[in-house]
Amino acid sequence: MHMHKFEKIWLIFGIGALVVFLSVVGVSAFYLGNKPPSCLTTIDPEKVDTQAPFDKPGLNKVEGKEWDYELVYVASAFSYNPTEVEVPLGAKVKVMATTKDVIHGFQVAGTNINMMLEPGYINEIVTTFDKEGEYLVVCNEYCGTGHHLMSSKIKVVK
């Protein structure tokens, strides 16, 4: 099987670019800690309301952790609890969420906070809110007739 010289050059260049690209993505994920949300903790979806931390949805100050606050959400068709929170500017926050019924999405529009909520699993992401303003939280996975009405609000304030 014969390969044209230009095609070899083209493929070597392409594969080289691929290696560089994957290295950048890999280093960012595993050395700089930018892994996609992948929490492995499970929970009984029928007992969400009685289990910590989901028995206290909202912003909770924590001590002795890498983050200052835990922002806890419980999703169910077609709302988030809480429906609105205020977060102090510059706070390092661990967002933790789960669902009581079907699959939902959890995206804070205009940020990189975007994760799937699946029954039986907790999902989480650590982030710093470093821009003042009002952010819309939307459900971005179809969950039923009211899917496009399912939202919440995060106000980042001084």
Partner: protein
């Protein structure tokens, strides 16, 4: 043509079965297109659906008809005809199996569609548990998959006969490519068959109370990514092996074309986690491993791009074109069989770049489940693939019905291609931008309580409605052309173009036809990518989920 079994015309008995597939495909396109138009109109905020029809009901119809029915029926019809043309007329036994496959798929489609119309299955075409549809919907889906296996079996039988009759010879390129795609489809659809048969059907029938959601999704996406390659490879068949003949050039390299198809088979399946990157319950190391495997398909994609442009350039130079891009001008732009697929090919450049962004591990968080993704696959599937399918229709349908593509229809076909391109530029472009601002996909019109961010999205949704209306015009033009070619065009002989390789002395290595080897590597890669995370999922499974019906009834 070297082999005696190769006939220049598809046998009319095979043509009839291929046409049966195309009728269903184009009915799906018509109805699905109407739903698409309605979706964009609803999302513009200026229009509401009448008679209590629900947005998500029509979205389910659109996704199922366009993503599953149009594609599967067209592909099976096309591949069945391509094998008949290049490996010889199907045997009566193969043809009978093909017909059974066609009817099983059609009955399955009708079952699923009925449940969606009755509001018993507004679960979208991905039917994620624990949304629970009526069991007839799942059974219908099972029929579609099983029917497609029978259709595939007919193709494999004819390929196997050719191999028996031509020992030691590489099979005809188009047949080889079709079989690769069929094999990939069968291996991939085992995943969706498993979740439907062992999880969703028993659960919707009430035989079991709960379902393991993550396992079901993982099985779905084991199927879902190769699904998109199943759509794409027939387009590549046209680009690699048919377009060269249409323009009057040669296939750049027969062997490299086969090699790239084998690479697609190997690297299309063990990669489903790139659709689950932001999900809980899957270790990030396994996600990243599948990201690496995902990116391996860039290699055959680069090979494809190279060989297509090499074919074009060599053809142009043989026509006396000079300069770096002189060949571009001498391409047969007035021939719809070339121009319309070419628009598809060109769209694949931005579409592929978008795909790289989507699959980039943590970068996925920026776009996951935003309307950007919808913009992305309306470029890949609904432009690159669909315009190539239209390009195939322009000669294959008259070839099968004993008619010809007239000058007037050819002209209309070119207009159709550009109308589609313009409509899609608006719709897909606006979807990409809105997605970057955070606008969610699969969502009816909403201002989210007049939130300032959501208000910024509305102008983009209006642009999508403009694009959608232009696209719908494109669909009407396409239906006019199809009906003309199927029933009204003048009788005559339309060619089924099959390209020849530039270097006929270079025989493709026989190792390419060694199915034990390729299936073995395919299975090994799948086991490597999936076994451990799958065991983890089952061992650490949370309590199962009961079913939910979170949408209204009639």
């Amino acid at each position: 043509m070297s082999s005696q079994t190769t006939k220049l015309k598809v046998d009319p008995r095979d043509g009839k079965l291929a046409m049966a597939h195309f009728y269903v495909a184009f009915i799906a396109l018509t109805l699905g297109g109407l739903m698409g138009l309605l979706q964009t109109l609803v999302r513009s905020g200026k229009f509401e659906l009448p008679w209590g029809i629900d947005y998500y009901q029509i979205l389910t119809v659109h996704g199922v008809l366009m993503g599953l029915v149009l594609t599967t029926f067209f592909i099976m019809g096309f591949q069945y005809a391509a094998i008949s043309r290049t490996a010889g007329t199907h045997s009566p036994a193969a043809r009978r199996i093909g017909w059974i496959g066609f009817w099983v798929m059609t009955v399955g489609t009708i079952m699923a569609a009925t449940m969606v119309l009755l509001k018993e299955a507004s679960v979208l075409y991905t039917f994620y548990a624990p949304l629970k549809a009526h069991w007839i919907f799942y059974l219908g889906m099972t029929f579609v998959v099983i029917g497609s296996w029978l259709d595939g079996a007919a193709q494999i039988m004819t390929y196997a006969r050719w191999r028996r009759e031509n020992p030691g010879k590489p099979s005809p390129l188009l047949s080889f490519m079709a079989i690769i795609n069929t094999v990939m489809w069968i291996v991939a659809s085992l995943g969706v068959a498993a979740t439907v048969l062992f999880q969703l059907l028993p659960w919707s029938l009430g035989l079991v109370d709960t379902v393991d959601v993550l396992v079901s999704r993982t099985l779905f996406w084991y199927f879902g990514h190769p699904l998109v390659y199943f759509w794409l490879l027939p387009a590549y068949m046209c680009w690699y092996a048919i377009i060269p003949k249409i323009i009057g050039g040669k296939i750049f390299s027969d062997s490299l074309a086969r090699l790239s198809f084998i690479l697609f088979l190997l690297f299309s399946i063990p990669v489903g986690f790139h659709h689950q990157l932001t999900e809980p319950g899957i270790d990030p190391a396994w996600k990243f491993l599948q990201v690496i495997l995902t990116f391996m398909v860039i290699i055959p994609s680069l090979m494809t791009a190279f060989s297509l442009f090499a074919t074009f350039e060599r053809f142009g130079r043989s026509k006396g074109a000079t300069g770096l891009f002189g060949w571009f001008k001498v391409l047969p732009w007035k021939d719809a069989r070339f121009t319309v697929p070419f628009i598809g090919m060109a769209s694949f450049i931005p579409a592929g770049a978008g795909g790289i962004i989507n699959a980039s591990n943590q970068m996925n968080q920026v776009v996951h489940n935003t309307i950007w993704v919808t913009g992305h696959f309306h470029l890949t599937a609904a432009t690159s693939v669909v315009l190539t399918f239209f390009g195939i229709t322009f000669w294959l349908v008259p070839h099968l019905t004993g008619r010809v593509l007239t000058k007037a229809m050819n002209k209309l076909a070119i207009i159709q291609g550009w109308v589609w391109f313009i409509g899609m530029a608006f719709m897909s472009g606006a979807m990409h931008f809105q997605g970057l601002l955070g606008g969610p996909r699969r969502s009816a019109y909403s201002t989210y309580g007049d939130s300032a961010q959501a208000m910024e999205w509305i102008p983009y949704q209006i642009a999508q409605a403009v694009g959608g209306s232009i696209l719908f015009l494109g669909i009407i033009l396409m239906i006019i052309i199809f009906v003309n070619l199927a029933f009204f065009a003048p009788k005559g002989e339309e060619e089924f173009p099959v390209g020849e390789a530039e270097n006929l002395d270079e025989k493709a290595p026989m190792i390419f036809e060694n199915w034990k080897l390729w299936l073995g590597i395919t299975a090994a890669l799948i086991l490597f990518a999936y076994t451990i995370p799958f065991i983890d999922m089952i061992q650490n499974a949370p309590p199962g989920s009961p079913g939910f019906k979170t949408w209204g009834s009639w």
